[in-house]
């Protein structure tokens, strides 16, 4: 329990497992750049079950509509209020898509309206420095999805800390590549993932 375990969030509706290679790539980057004691493989945890509270960082993604059960909604609220960090990423990269609309409904129903994070927030400088805020993805730059460049991330803040972070940038596609591909990349696109984890572990 002392080590950091990357956890992918399972929820009753939708396709929660749509980015299966993402954990491996992110774990690799964290292990390469930090001395964080990180488990070599990730786990899947069900939002509706108590086990989710053993993993204070979870990654949630999908393409399909999100409808939480009562237990999931209750756990989500408790999880964030107690200091957990949940990253929700729209795998469609489409603000008119079903995931975005339904996930937003669920978040607002549970926490109210999210706060737009400024691009000088410490999330963007706690390890690697991202001067312009959240790094863009190839999917945004290529005009896929909603054909927009999303310049900000939204968040639910608890006592000034980010408890829930919502992204329309589709990091789930950007970081869901075959592990061998990373060797041929000029720049590691998953570096922002290190910031997410360092922030979650230190704030």
């Amino acid at each position: 329990m002392s080590e950091f375990v990357f956890a992918t969030l399972e929820y009753a509706s939708g396709d929660w497992e749509s980015a299966p290679a993402l954990p491996e790539n992110l774990i690799d980057t964290v292990a390469k750049h930090t001395s964080i004691d990180i488990a070599p493989v990730g786990v899947n945890v069900k939002l509706g079950f108590p086990e989710v509270f053993n993993y204070p960082f979870v990654w949630m993604t999908g393409h399909l509509p999100v409808r939480f059960t009562d237990a999931e909604r209750r756990n989500l609220k408790r999880y964030v209020e107690r200091g957990g960090f949940i990253m929700i990423d729209d795998h469609n990269h489409d603000i008119t898509g079903e995931f975005h609309k339904t996930a937003h409904e669920e978040i607002e129903r549970t926490f109210g309206r999210m706060t737009r994070l400024k691009n000088d927030h410490e999330l963007y400088s706690c390890f690697f420095v991202f001067e312009n805020g959240p790094p863009n993805t190839n999917h945004e730059l290529n005009g896929w999805g909603d054909n927009l460049l999303h310049r900000y991330l939204d968040a639910v803040l608890v006592n000034g800390r980010i408890g829930l972070l919502y992204s329309s940038k589709d990091y789930s596609s950007e970081w869901n590549f075959h592990a061998e591909t990373k060797r041929t990349m000029q720049d590691d696109p998953t570096k922002f993932g290190v910031n997410l984890i360092v922030y979650a572990l230190t704030r």
């Binding site: 329990m1 964080i36 204070p56 107690r82 230190t202 704030r203």
Partner: protein, 430 residues
């Protein structure tokens, strides 16, 4: 010439007359002494104040006996002490008066609570109350009882039967900052969060990689002028080892987690060694015994001058010791964050209280004296200090009641006069 019998009877009559005269003389002397400075005067709790006034203005008794059903007020106690110093023997009794005492110690905690300790005979029911009303009640154990008062008011009373012991805060604590040193991890994060939520100002040095760290606050000198306590979570604290040792030896407080206690730099300060880990099986912490399921490293062997504060089975899991004027507490729980995340409804509050309690046990604090209201923290002890121990017999050490003696004297006098008069009438002498 009178017969032998008549002479004997006349002798008896003279003897009775002499006895009557002697008793009358004795009674006169007693009466005069009672008006002046002789005799034992009595008083009870309800009439004590009036009797004190009498003993100070009307008569000067050689001895007074006070039967108490509740302790006298501080003023009455002092008055009795003054009488005692003015050569009036003062004795007291009061079998219902229990020896209790109360102490009030503000906790080194931004929540500004206080610990109240009550000494009372085992099995005594004690009620704690403040100026608003009753706070709590409990039965004293062999070591008395302790209670935490979140919002202490001007005074705190411990009430046991008719005895009320009263304490008040004497000083206010001046808290410094805390310094948390650890690797980026959940324990570091949640310990820091809990302390900040509690109201502590926390500096933190969190190690993320060999080349990168996260610093919160300005961390330069580690001394008691800036820090109330240092929390060393793991081996990364060893880089501050010398500074921390100097800080503790100058009165600072240190909370050590097992991995930090293992380092060469900090081990000499630790209350104990580091045993074999007891793994966490992932069960949710219960509200009743939340730490029972957490991963723990027993503190073994315990240093000779350390005391174990908590056990799992026979193994110490929390221990403390003094290092010079400084205090060190070592916790064997590696992942207390699981309690906060996975525990019951009150888990975040209870975890916060627990972490704050660890810090409060060791924290260095400055003190500012407060104007203190009148207190009486140990009424019976104060009474004994003033008047000596309570009298064994209910009526005092002399063991007789002057009122009863007066009745006996009156009866003897009447009897003697009657017999003497009857004897003379029988003889035909007027």
């Amino acid at each position: 010439m009178r017969s032998l019998a008549e002479r004997a009877r006349a002798g008896g009559e003279w003897t009775l007359r002499a006895a009557v005269i002697a008793l009358l003389a004795w009674s006169l002397v007693i009466a005069l002494r009672g008006e002046d400075n002789g005799g034992t005067e009595q008083a009870t709790s309800s009439g004590l104040r009036a009797m004190l006034a009498r003993w100070s203005t009307v008569v000067t008794p050689a001895k007074v006996h006070v039967t108490l059903d509740h302790p006298p007020s501080a003023q009455e106690r002092d008055w009795l002490g003054a009488l005692s110093a003015a050569r009036t023997a003062v004795e007291w009794s009061g079998p219902s008066l229990l020896p209790i005492a109360v102490a009030f110690e503000p906790r080194a905690d931004p929540a500004r609570g206080a610990d109240v300790s009550v000494a009372a005979p085992a099995g005594t029911g004690v009620v704690l109350r403040d100026t608003i009303g009753v706070l709590d009640s409990a039965t004293a154990q062999a070591a008395g009882l302790r209670a935490y008062i979140p919002k202490p008011r001007r005074t705190v009373d411990a009430v046991a039967g008719p005895v009320v012991a009263r304490a008040a805060p004497r000083d206010s604590l001046v808290l410094g900052r805390l310094l948390v040193i650890g690797r980026a991890g959940w324990e570091t994060k949640f310990v820091t969060a809990a302390l900040e939520e509690r109201g502590w100002e926390v500096d933190a040095h969190v190690i993320v990689s060999p080349k990168s760290d996260v610093r919160q606050g300005r961390i330069d000198a580690i001394d008691t002028a800036r820090y109330s306590a240092v929390l060393a979570l793991d081996t990364t604290a060893a880089r501050y080892g010398e500074q921390i040792a100097r800080y503790v030896r100058s009165g600072g407080g240190l909370v050590l987690w097992a991995p930090a206690a293992r380092t060469r730099a900090l081990a000499p300060l630790a209350p104990g060694g580091v045993g074999l880990i007891m793994e966490d099986e992932g069960r949710p912490p219960s509200d009743s015994a939340p730490r029972e399921v957490l991963e723990v490293v027993p503190i073994t062997p315990l240093a000779p001058d350390a005391i174990a504060l908590e056990h799992r089975g026979v193994e110490p899991t929390l221990a403390a010791r003094r290092v010079g004027p400084g205090r060190v507490i070592q916790t064997g729980y590696l992942n207390s964050w699981r309690w906060r995340m996975a525990g019951g409804d009150d888990a975040p509050d209870l975890h916060r209280d627990w972490i704050a309690g660890l810090v409060a046990r060791v924290a260095y604090t400055g003190r500012v004296a407060l104007p203190s209201p009148p207190t009486d923290p140990a009424p019976l002890a104060a009474l004994i200090a003033k008047l000596g121990p309570r009298a064994n017999a209910a009526m005092g050490s002399t063991g007789y009641d002057p009122a009863m003696i007066a009745w006996w004297v009156f009866a003897i006098l009447c009897s003697a006069l009657m017999i003497e008069w009857a004897s003379r009438r029988v003889r035909g002498v007027k």
